[in-house]
């Protein structure tokens, strides 16, 4: 399967973060209209190779929105298994398809944010994860829900 079969050069006015290398906007953008796929020279099919970088622009949540786009990595781990990783938040999720992996990653971002926010005390890893999530997530204003 190729995630990057059709591509156009990224327009210069995009609000998405600039990544190193030659960037392309992918019209086969993993099926969701809120995911932008970039690629440079990555062979994302390689088990040990680099992840294909993606940018999430929404969380598909009724209650939460993103303050800024999230850079995630997507790779094909095995037959019928894709792994989406939000490395900054030390969070990974997998799925039978790229869409499944990304959907679970998005819902886990919201779920963990709510879980950690509701705790009085956290261990070192969840503390780090919450600090990162707070930089990216915000409650939607009531009118937007």
């Amino acid at each position: 399967m190729s995630l990057v079969a059709t591509s156009y050069r990224l327009s210069s006015g995009s609000s998405a973060p600039q990544l190193p290398g030659t960037l392309y906007y992918d019209t086969n953008n993993v099926g969701a209209n809120n995911v932008v796929t970039y690629y440079a020279t990555n062979n994302y099919n390689s088990d040990s190779g680099p992840y294909a970088p993606l940018v999430l622009l929404t969380l598909d949540s009724a209650e939460y929105q993103l303050r800024k786009p999230i850079c995630v990595g997507l790779k094909e781990k095995a037959d019928d298994e894709y792994i989406a990783t939000f490395a900054e938040a030390e969070l990974s999720r997998s799925g039978d398809t790229p869409q499944e992996a990304l959907a679970w990653l998005k819902s886990s971002i919201v779920e963990l944010y709510e879980l950690f926010k509701g705790e009085d005390q956290l261990g070192p890893l969840p503390q780090r994860q919450l600090r990162v999530l707070e930089q990216y997530i915000d409650k939607k204003p009531h009118r937007a829900r």
Binding site: D79, S107, S108
Partner: protein
């Protein structure tokens, strides 16, 4: 490309072995490891019995260790204590809390001469 070596039952085995509580979370489940009431680690468990759990493996994976070590933890060659030692080395486990004083006991005052 080969199948993932970690499946749903391995993930449940690991949760039981390390004492993590498993809760349903949407379509999938979430295992939460607590120590002294504090959340130490969480990991996701997929619903399909044969579904791969590659997201548990690797430095950015939920369990913070290689696939070989995750297999070892699931299939008994790595003990809970060994895994906790590993987490300590990674800075995931907090330093132990100081022992609390028994209730009603006053701290020792200065000795009379």
């Amino acid at each position: 490309m080969t199948k993932s070596r970690i499946e749903r039952d391995d993930a449940y085995t690991i949760a039981t072995k390390i004492g993590a509580e498993v809760q349903k979370a949407g379509k999938h489940a979430r295992a939460t490891l607590r120590m002294d009431g504090r959340i130490i680690l969480t990991f996701g468990i997929r619903h399909g019995p044969k579904s791969g759990h590659g997201h548990l493996c690797g430095a950015t994976g939920d369990l913070k260790m290689s696939e070989t070590n995750v297999v070892a933890l699931a299939r008994c060659t790595m003990t809970k204590d060994q895994y906790f030692e590993f987490l300590k080395g990674k800075g995931v486990l907090p330093p132990p809390l100081p022992p609390s004083e028994p209730k009603g006991q006053k701290p020792p005052g200065p000795r009379k001469a």
